[in-house]
C-alpha cells in the first residue's frame, strides 16, 4: 500500500468525521434557532442560553469540513462549490444572520429585540434549508432538471425537520419546566419530517446513481448492510414511543431519561451518515470524481496529517471540557 493510495482515504475519513460532528453539533443549535418563534420571551432567553457557550465552536466544524475539502481535495472543492454557488450563498447569509443575531438580540435596544429574534430564526431556517438543498444537489451529482431540484428542495425540508428534532431533544435534555414540556411536543412533531427525509434520501439516492444501487442491492452485501436501515427504523420507533412516556413522567416531576431522545436522534444521524458514506465512498462527487483524482499531492497531505493527528485529540479534549463546564440544566446566561 502506498501513501498516494491511503492518504486520500484517511482524509476522506477525517472530512467525513468533521461533517458528521458538524451536523450533530450545529444541527442542535440551528434546530434551537428554528424553534425559537414557538416559545414565549422567557423561553426564548433560556433557549438561546442553552446554546450560547457552544455555537462558535460548533460552527468551526463546518470550517474544518469545508476546509478539508478545500485543502485535501482541491479539484473537487472548485467543482462542488462552483455547482452549489447559490445554495452556498444562501447558507452563508443564513449563518451570518443567525450568528450575529445571537449577540445583537441581548445587546441592542429593547424595541429591536423582537427583530433580532426573528432574524435569528430566519437565519437558522435559511441555513438549514440551504444545507439540505446542498446535500440533495450533491447526491444527484448536480443533475439538471425539475425532478432533481424538487428532490433537493425536499431534502432541504427534511434536513430542517431533522435539525428541529435535534434542537428539541437538546432542549428536553438541557431545560426543565414549561419549556421542557413544550420541547417534548416539538420533538414529537419533528419526528415524521425527519423520518420522511431519511426515507426519501434512501430511496432516491440509489435510483439516481445506478452505481450506488449496485453497491447496496447485491448479495451478500445486502445482508451485511441490513442493520443500517433496520437500526434506523428501530431508533425511530424508540423515539416515537419514548416521547409521550417522557411527557407523562415530566408532568409527574420525574426527569430521568431526559437525555434519551437526544441520544436516539444522534444515533439516527450516525446511521444515516454511515449509509451515505458507504454509498458515496470512494467517490468524492458521485459518478464524476473519486478521492484519488481530487486529492492534493501526498507531500501536502502528509504535513496536514501530522498536524491533525497531534491537534485533533486536543480539540476533542477541550471541547469535551467545555461541554462539561456547562453540564446540566441551563441557567440564565450571564457574562462573568
Amino acid at each position: 500500500m502506498n501513501a498516494a493510495y491511503w492518504l486520500p482515504v484517511i482524509f476522506a475519513g477525517l472530512m467525513g468525521l468533521a461533517m458528521l460532528v458538524y451536523v450533530v453539533l450545529d444541527g442542535f443549535d440551528l434546530g434551537v434557532g428554528l424553534l425559537l418563534p414557538l416559545a414565549d420571551d422567557a423561553g426564548k432567553d433560556r433557549m438561546v442560553a442553552s446554546i450560547g457557550p457552544f455555537w462558535d465552536a460548533n460552527e468551526t466544524w463546518l470550517v474544518l469540513g469545508a476546509g478539508l475539502l478545500l485543502v485535501a481535495f482541491p479539484m473537487a472543492h472548485g467543482v462542488v462549490f462552483g455547482a452549489l454557488y447559490i445554495p452556498v450563498l444562501l447558507m452563508l447569509v443564513g449563518l451570518i444572520l443567525r450568528g450575529v443575531a445571537f449577540d445583537f438580540r441581548v445587546k441592542a435596544r429593547d424595541p429591536h429585540r423582537p427583530w433580532w429574534n426573528a432574524i435569528f430564526a430566519f437565519g437558522s431556517l435559511l441555513a438549514s434549508l440551504a444545507q439540505g438543498v446542498m446535500l440533495g444537489r450533491y447526491l444527484t451529482g448536480f443533475a439538471d432538471g425539475a425532478l432533481p431540484w424538487l428532490f433537493a428542495l425536499l431534502v432541504g425540508a427534511g434536513l430542517t425537520a431533522a435539525y428541529a428534532l435535534l434542537g428539541a431533544c437538546w432542549l428536553i435534555m438541557k431545560t426543565e419546566g414549561a419549556l421542557q414540556r413544550q420541547a417534548l411536543g416539538w420533538a414529537r412533531r419533528s419526528v415524521p419530517g425527519a423520518g420522511l427525509a431519511v426515507l426519501l434520501v434512501s430511496i432516491v439516492t440509489p435510483l439516481a446513481n445506478p452505481a450506488i444501487a449496485g453497491k447496496w442491492f447485491a448479495l451478500p452485501q445486502l445482508f451485511l448492510l441490513l442493520p443500517l436501515p433496520l437500526g434506523t427504523l428501530a431508533l425511530f420507533v424508540v423515539q416515537w414511543l419514548a416521547l409521550p412516556r417522557l411527557a407523562r413522567r415530566q408532568a409527574a416531576g420525574n426527569d430521568s431519561y431526559c437525555w434519551l431522545p437526544f441520544a436516539t436522534t444522534v444515533g439516527m444521524v450516525l446511521l444515516a451518515f454511515w449509509g451515505l458514506a458507504y454509498s458515496v465512498f470512494p467517490q468524492v462527487i458521485p459518478g464524476r470524481m473519486d478521492i484519488w483524482q481530487a486529492a492534493s499531492d501526498p507531500e501536502a497531505l502528509w504535513i496536514m496529517l501530522w498536524g491533525a493527528l497531534l491537534v485533533l485529540p486536543c480539540i476533542i479534549g477541550y471541547t469535551a471540557f467545555a461541554y462539561r463546564v456547562f453540564w446540566g440544566k441551563t441557567g440564565t446566561l450571564r457574562y462573568q
Binding site: L64, L70, P74, F81, G82, F102, D103, E299, T319
Partner: protein, 447 residues
C-alpha cells in the same frame, strides 16, 4: 449587457475580506487587553479592572461573532470564485489554512464559552487561562494567515512542477521574506485599532457623565497603549517599506508615484497619478525626501514603474498609502496630546475637546488598517501569487450576473451589519454610562 465576471469576483472578494478584517483587527488585540484587565484585577483586587473587563468582554463577544461568521464566508470563497488558486498553489496554501483551522480556530472558539459565560462555573485560574488561550488562539490565527498572505506576496521555498507548486522548505515558505514585517505591522495595527476603540468609547462614556472607576482605567489603558504603539508602528512601517523596495519594487514605485526611475525623488504629498500620460498631475512634494526615506540617501535611486512590464494600478495604491499614513500621523498627535494631559490629571479632568477628538477617532484604526491592506493587496496586482499565478488565471466559471447577484447580497448584508454593530457599541456605552450614573446617585442618597 455583458458583466465582467472577473472584476465582479474581485470586488466581491474585496468586500468579503474587507468586512472580515474589521473584526479580527479588533479581536486579536482586544483579547490581550482583556487578559491585561483580568491580570490587573488579580494583582490589585480593584473592582474597577473587573468592571472594565465586564464591559469590554461584551464587545469582544459581539466582534468575535462577526469575525467568525464573516470568516466562514472566506473558506467557501476560494472554491466558488477562485478554483485556480488551490489547483496551482494548494500544496502550500492547503496546509497553512489547515493549520490555522486546527491550531487556532478551534482553540479560540473552544475556550470562548468559558471566557464569556463560565466565570461562575470554573475557578478564577481556569477562567484566566481561558482568556489567555482565546487571546493566544487569535494571534496564532493571525500568524498562519499572514504567513500565507506574505507567501503570496513574496513566495519562497518551493519549485514549480507541471504547473503546481511543490514545497522544498516549509521554514522558507512560512518565514518568507516579507512575513516578519507584515506580521509585526498587522499585530501593531490591531493594537492601535483596539487602543483607539477603547479610548473612543470610554471618552464617549465620560462625555455622558460616566465617572465610574472602571471606565477611567479603560480610558487610560487605551490612551497609553496608543501612545506607546504608534511610534513602534511608524518604525515597523518604515522597515516594511524597505522590505517592499527589495522584494516588490513595482508596488513601492506605485506607492511613491514614481513613473520613471529617478535619483533624488521627492516625497509626494499630493498628486493625481495619470495612467494615460504615465505621469502625475498637480504634483506637490518635498524634494529628495522619498529617496532619503527609502534609500537613506537624498540622491538615492528609486526604480520607476517604467521598468516593470506589469505593474499595479497606481492611483489606488498611491492614495491608500496616503490615507494610511495620514491617519497614522493623526493617531500620533491625538494619543500623545491626551497622554500628556493624563500625566497631570485623572481621566475626568481631560479637556472636553480632546474627548470629542477621541470619540471621532473611535474607528480610526479600521480606516488605517483597511487602507494599509489595500496598499499591499492592490499593490500585488496583477499577480495573485507574485510571479506564479495571476488573479485572472485563478478565476472560476461563475457568470457575471451570478457574481453580481451575490456581490449585491453581501454588500446589503454588510452595510446593515456594520450599521448595527457601530450603533450597538455606542448603545452599550451609553447604557453603561447610565448605570454608572445611577450607581453614583444611589451612593449619594445612601450617604
Amino acid at each position: 449587457m455583458e458583466l465582467d465576471a472577473l472584476a465582479l469576483a474581485r470586488a466581491q472578494f474585496a468586500a468579503n475580506i474587507s468586512f472580515h478584517i474589521l473584526f479580527p483587527s479588533i479581536n486579536i488585540a482586544l483579547a490581550w487587553v482583556l487578559l491585561f484587565f483580568k491580570l490587573r484585577y488579580l494583582r490589585t483586587g480593584r473592582q474597577a479592572w473587573m468592571d472594565a473587563y465586564g464591559f469590554w468582554v461584551k464587545i469582544f463577544a459581539l466582534s468575535f461573532a462577526l469575525g467568525v461568521v464573516s470568516g466562514v464566508t472566506m473558506s467557501f470563497q476560494f472554491g466558488t470564485n477562485w478554483p485556480g488558486y488551490m489547483q496551482t498553489v494548494g500544496n502550500i496554501a492547503g496546509p497553512l489554512l489547515a493549520y490555522e483551522i486546527l491550531t487556532a480556530f478551534f482553540l479560540e472558539a473552544g475556550f470562548l464559552g468559558i471566557m464569556l459565560f463560565g466565570r461562575s462555573r470554573v475557578s478564577e485560574r481556569v477562567h484566566t487561562l481561558a482568556t489567555l488561550l482565546v487571546a493566544f488562539g487569535n494571534s496564532l490565527s493571525a500568524f498562519w494567515i499572514i504567513a500565507l498572505n506574505s507567501w503570496m506576496q513574496t513566495p519562497a521555498g518551493f519549485v514549480m512542477k507541471d504547473g503546481r507548486a511543490h514545497v522544498t522548505s516549509w521554514l522558507e515558505v512560512i518565514f518568507n521574506p516579507s512575513m516578519p514585517y507584515r506580521l509585526t505591522h498587522m499585530l501593531l495595527a490591531s493594537g492601535l485599532t483596539v487602543a483607539f476603540l477603547v479610548a473612543g468609547l470610554s471618552a464617549y462614556r465620560l462625555l455622558k457623565a460616566d465617572r465610574s472607576a472602571g471606565n477611567a482605567v479603560a480610558l487610560k489603558t487605551g490612551v497609553w497603549l496608543a501612545a506607546l504603539l504608534i511610534p513602534l508602528q511608524i518604525l515597523a512601517g518604515d522597515a516594511h517599506g524597505l522590505n517592499t523596495m527589495t522584494h516588490q519594487p513595482a508596488k513601492l514605485a506605485a506607492i511613491e508615484g514614481v513613473w520613471h526611475t529617478e535619483r533624488g525623488a521627492p516625497l509626494l504629498l499630493f498628486a493625481l497619478p495619470n495612467a494615460d500620460t504615465q505621469s502625475n498631475d498637480y504634483a506637490l512634494g518635498i524634494p529628495r525626501l522619498a529617496s532619503l526615506i527609502i534609500k537613506h540617501d537624498p540622491d538615492g535611486e528609486i526604480r520607476g514603474l517604467n521598468e516593470f512590464a506589469q505593474h499595479p494600478p497606481v492611483a489606488k495604491v498611491f492614495w491608500s498609502f496616503r490615507v494610511m499614513v495620514g491617519v497614522g500621523v493623526l493617531m500620533l498627535l491625538a494619543s500623545w496630546l491626551t497622554a500628556w494631559q493624563l500625566r497631570r490629571r485623572d481621566a475626568a479632568g481631560l479637556d472636553r475637546r480632546l474627548l470629542y477628538l477621541l470619540v471621532g477617532m473611535t474607528f480610526a484604526g479600521w480606516v488605517a488598517t483597511l487602507a494599509g491592506w489595500y496598499v499591499t493587496e492592490i499593490g500585488r496586482q496583477p499577480w495573485l501569487v507574485t510571479g506564479v499565478l495571476t488573479t485572472a488565471q485563478a478565476a472560476g466559471a461563475a457568470t457575471g450576473s451570478m457574481v453580481a447577484g451575490s456581490l449585491l447580497t453581501y454588500l446589503a448584508l454588510y452595510a446593515g451589519l456594520l450599521l448595527a454593530y457601530i450603533s450597538v457599541l455606542f448603545h452599550l456605552a451609553g447604557k453603561a454610562a447610565g448605570q454608572a450614573d445611577a450607581a453614583v446617585a444611589l451612593k449619594e442618597v445612601q450617604a
